[in-house]
Symmetry: C2
DNA sequence: ACAGTTATGTTATAATGTATCGCGTCCGCA
DNA sequence: TGCGGACGCGATACATTATAACATAACTGT
């Protein structure tokens, strides 16, 4: 797995956004002057996810830079407000869950995503 | 929220499948003799999810009937094999996680989905 | 009956994601 | 240093997934 300008560019855009970004937003902004084909962006994003530098937020069709830099496998956990579309990352205590998966045997865990949906404090009217 | 033939039909198909089903598979099989427009199916599925009778598996663009019939809010948890595409539902111990969300305050939890990716026992070669 | 809400049908289109093929580039190795 | 294989990128076309918008129908409470 190599480190390339495309991947650096994708990561740069994710970091600058500071939150979830849709693939086609990246497609639009990837090249300052022109158009980039979707496969280019998707490949870069897939690589970042593979490298552990970003997460895919499946329920939003979006990507976000990973805020942890220790390279350790961890659960990406998010709180979604179904009302105002806010997304907040948080550190979920998934020790029990990991233990349960290990205990059931036969499954080699690679990555875990936790998505909690509800209402943020501002939307509880 | 009413109980309607469309929603019953959708749930019936999900239950019969016994596993994740894609929306457009339902579109194809919804009406035995003819064609159903996508919005009809998506609306029925959205309603089932809203009613807690089904879950959406975001990372697979699929839906699955909820196997719990107590109507209690719970975490839908799945193990995905990235190699052979098998999906297994399991009961994740998310007590700690729920507690952590409650402890941080200001977020009213409605539903939680946990997706674990890795390799199933058959694919560890 | 009436008014308001909820559900459905229909058409078209938007948004998201991939297959494929060809070419270039990098890397290890003899 | 030349070769071979793996990896990465560009480009085109296409497949898949999901929704907007609008009109009509059905249910619900009063």
């Amino acid at each position: 797995m190599r480190w390339t300008p495309q991947r650096e560019r994708a990561l740069e855009l994710l970091l600058r956004a500071g939150g979830p970004v849709k693939a086609y937003d990246l497609v639009a902004t990837f090249q300052p002057g022109g158009q980039t084909a979707p496969p280019t962006v998707y490949r870069a994003l897939d690589a970042l996810v593979e490298l552990g530098l970003a997460h895919r937020i499946a329920s939003r069709n979006a990507y976000v830079a990973c805020h942890r830099h220790d390279g350790e496998a961890h659960a990406a956990s998010f709180l979604f407000c179904d009302c105002c579309d806010a997304v907040e990352e948080f550190e979920a205590p998934v020790g029990e869950v990991m233990a349960a998966i290990k205990a059931r045997g036969g499954f080699q865990l690679r990555a875990m995503t936790l998505e909690a949906h509800g209402r943020c404090s501002r939307c509880q009217d």
